[in-house]
């Protein structure tokens, strides 16, 4: 049924070796080109930010100001922050672009991000109960997630998640649902974990909603609203890009059993099956932090993202060779597909219709059906 059953251990190993070879080749080639690329982007982002904040104080230029500041925040978070914090540019030895030192223009602390994203999400991609990005503890994103009445609100909650994305991401590490719904976390625990988050949040809120408005004097409301709009733009865009990367309908989720004794080749294949790309031009790739190449990103999270497009044909060739799907489509198609899934899963029901690419649920009886457990 699933592709996991069709592949032999030798094939898994061969896939691992072939993908490792791509990775090693790119690693050996890192240098000047990558440094120039990321520095150029950082410069562009800072220019947009400065220009945006100035324009927000000049009424006729206000809409341009929102666009510039929104674009700056998107670049800062996606092609720069997300990728730098993956350690993609650590090889440069530049403290300003180092994964341990970088912080980004959003409420989430760099430290918490690296835990939930780099560690949990990238190690346990699309594994239920392990990868918190599967629904953020808020939504039902997979048939194998047991239905609860609260998931009737799947759609409105998705809208809310998009709107306040930076703050949801900021508190993601707190696993609020464990306190609110499942009662496995105490209020005291939660308060302790919230301290560093609040410290960062406070700074971000003060900057965007107190100090820059105050600098504008009588135009304070204009700047305030402009900053709201810029943050909202970034929130919605970032959330949409991320959802498209893992939740279009054919993308698979996995039971926890897959990660027992998982080999490197199997890990690679899980990353492949758990991710989806979307097509677009150069601007689309840059503004999505090259998460338009989510598949390549999940295979090689620490390779500089602007390289994904170059290695994509090789990854596709490997997929063809081993009969693995390579999920891609237009941004619109992937978005519609994702929302369809979210709508469908707001209602009870465990199995996907017909196609049934999903791996059996954790509680399935036959161990033979647990593809990676053996």
């Amino acid at each position: 049924m699933g592709i996991f059953q069709k592949l032999t251990p030798e094939q898994f190993e061969a896939i691992g070796t072939e993908l490792d070879a791509i990775r090693n080749r790119v690693l050996a080639d890192l240098g000047e080109r990558d440094a120039r690329y990321i520095r150029g982007l950082v410069k562009r982002q800072r220019q947009l930010e400065v220009a945006g904040r100035v324009m927000l104080m000049i009424p006729p230029a206000w809409p341009l100001g929102v666009a510039a500041l929104g674009a700056s925040k998107i670049l800062d978070n996606m092609e720069i922050g997300h990728n730098v914090m993956h350690g993609q540019y650590d090889f440069m030895g530049d403290p300003a672009l180092n994964s341990q030192k970088f912080d980004w223009d959003t409420s989430d602390t760099a430290r918490n991000w690296k835990h939930t994203h780099n560690y949990e999400h990238h190690t346990y991609t699309n594994v239920l109960n392990r990868d918190h990005d599967v629904g953020y503890g808020l939504l039902r994103m997979s048939e194998d997630q047991a239905w609860e009445p609260r998931f009737l609100a799947n759609l409105p909650l998705t809208v809310i998640l998009h709107t306040f994305f930076q703050h949801f991401v900021a508190v993601q590490n707190l696993k609020l649902e464990n306190y609110l719904v499942y009662k496995t976390k105490t209020g005291a625990q939660l308060r302790e974990e919230f301290k560093p988050v609040w410290k960062k949040m406070r700074k971000q809120l003060a900057k965007d909603y107190v100090f820059f408005p105050l600098l504008a004097g009588p135009l304070a409301p204009l700047v305030f609203v402009g900053n709201v709009a810029a943050n909202l733009t970034r929130n919605v865009w970032a959330c949409a890009v991320i959802f498209n990367g893992h939740f279009p309908e054919d993308v698979e989720q996995f039971p926890e059993s897959v990660i027992e004794n998982e080999t490197r080749g199997q890990w690679y294949v899980r990353q492949l099956l758990g991710s989806a790309n979307f097509s677009g031009g150069k601007l689309m790739h840059i503004m999505s932090g090259n998460l338009s190449f989510q598949i390549e990103h999940h295979l090689f999270p620490d390779l500089p993202a602007h390289r994904y497009q170059e290695i994509s044909p090789e990854v596709q060739a490997i997929c063809r060779k081993y009969g693995l799907p390579y999920n891609t489509g237009s941004f619109l198609r992937q978005t519609l597909s994702t929302w369809k899934r979210i709508a469908r899963l707001s209602l009870p029901g465990r199995r996907k219709p017909a196609t049934g690419a999903a791996v059996p649920a954790n509680d399935a009886e036959s161990p033979r059906e647990l593809p990676l457990a053996a």
Partner: protein, 373 residues
């Protein structure tokens, strides 16, 4: 006035105070003021010492002399000290130590570094062949205890070999700027006359200053130096009979330094000899008895102790901690050990078990060690 002096005064002015204020920090969070200043001029910074390379000269076939114009954060140095220079080569930052050779009184505020390009030397070769005027480099503040004492000694003996000439050149130039009256002997060792860095300037200084004696000793014959061969007690006694009265400053290749140190030690003059090493004795690494693990707390990584230095082990674990000389001299790699015992690979000495700062390039874990990296 040139642009850099403008930028220096720009940063020294009231604007500097504004830029280092809490408000500026708040408005530029989380990136900080420097990351925006760079947009306007790559040498502008509130915190970092950055410098523009204003001249690249090739004094000898295998050396290069750089003139750097530091920004206003440079606090100056004491004659003999070194700084850490960071240059970017093929997209990767590299840090090495160099000793400024100029006088501490240089009115133009420029820094002069001279590097010997080693045939297999990664950074020194780049400085010689690839560095263009206009490049912006990063510097540390000056560091090191090898320096002219504030109370200048009267009788000074400067002994150098090869590229080790740089810190003592700074001492000589500084003393001359101060119109030093005591006698100064400049004893320099190198292979041939053509290899001698600062040869013509030194000849001129010796000709113009009655209290400065220049003694050149070439390893090769018929180079026209005052001496020929290698350092020895006999040679020293003949060339500098009053060496025991002098305060001596020494910098050169390891073998030559060892020979000089031996004479001073035998004569019981150890405390009159100040020295600087550009290269350290080889490290003793014994991987056979390694046990425990290395925990990199901040990056949440774990490695089985391989017995190599903590810097090597961190790099093997895919981390890129800051590092420089990799031999325990420059302190660029210093970081916090929160738990465990380490052995100093140079001396074999064991550390305490508690929290302390260690140089990871010369520290080998003894059992499990936790680092804040």
């Amino acid at each position: 006035m040139n642009t850099a002096n403008n930028s220096n005064s720009f940063l020294k002015s009231g604007l500097r105070r504004v830029l280092s204020s809490r408000l500026a920090e708040t408005l530029t969070t989380p990136h900080g003021v420097d990351r925006y200043l760079e947009l306007f001029n790559p040498t502008w910074s509130v915190h970092e010492v950055r410098a523009e390379v204003v001249a690249v000269k090739h004094g000898t076939a295998d050396s290069v002399t750089l003139t750097l114009r530091p920004n206003g954060n440079w606090q100056g140095f004491r004659a003999g000290q070194f700084l850490r220079l960071t240059v970017e080569i093929n997209g990767v930052r590299r840090m090495r130590c160099y000793s400024p050779a100029n006088s501490v009184h240089a009115a133009d505020g420029l820094i002069e570094l001279t590097a010997k390009a080693h045939a297999t030397g990664f950074v020194s070769k780049h400085l010689k062949q690839g560095l263009q005027p206009g490049t912006v480099v990063t510097l540390s503040q000056a560091d090191g205890v090898f320096a002219l004492p504030d109370q200048r000694p009267d009788r000074v003996l400067l002994i150098s070999g090869g590229s080790g000439i740089t810190p003592v050149m700074s001492m000589l130039r500084t003393l001359l700027d101060e119109k030093h009256q005591g006698r100064i002997t400049f004893l320099h060792y190198c292979n041939t006359a053509l290899d001698m860095i600062y040869a013509s300037e030194l000849a001129l200084i010796a000709a113009q200053h009655a209290n400065v004696e220049l003694i050149r000793c070439y390893a090769q014959p018929e180079q026209g130096g005052e001496l020929q061969g290698f350092f020895s007690r006999e040679q020293l006694r003949a060339a500098v009979p009053d060496y025991a009265e002098a305060t001596a400053f020494l910098c050169g290749p390891p073998a030559m330094m060892a020979a000089v140190e031996k004479v001073w030690a035998e004569d019981g003059l150890g405390d009159r000899l100040h020295l600087e090493r550009f290269t350290a004795a080889p490290l003793v690494i014994d991987g056979g008895s390694a046990e425990g693990e290395v925990r990199f707390a901040r990056s949440e990584r774990l490695a089985v102790n391989s017995g190599a230095t903590l810097l090597d082990q961190a790099e093997a674990a895919g981390l890129r901690p800051e590092s420089g000389c990799r031999m325990g001299i420059c302190k660029a790699c210093t970081c916090r050990k929160t738990h465990g015992v380490v052995r100093d690979a140079r001396t074999g000495e064991l550390s305490e078990a508690g929290e302390q700062d260690i140089q990871i390039c010369v520290s080998v874990p003894v059992g499990t060690v936790t680092l804040d990296i």
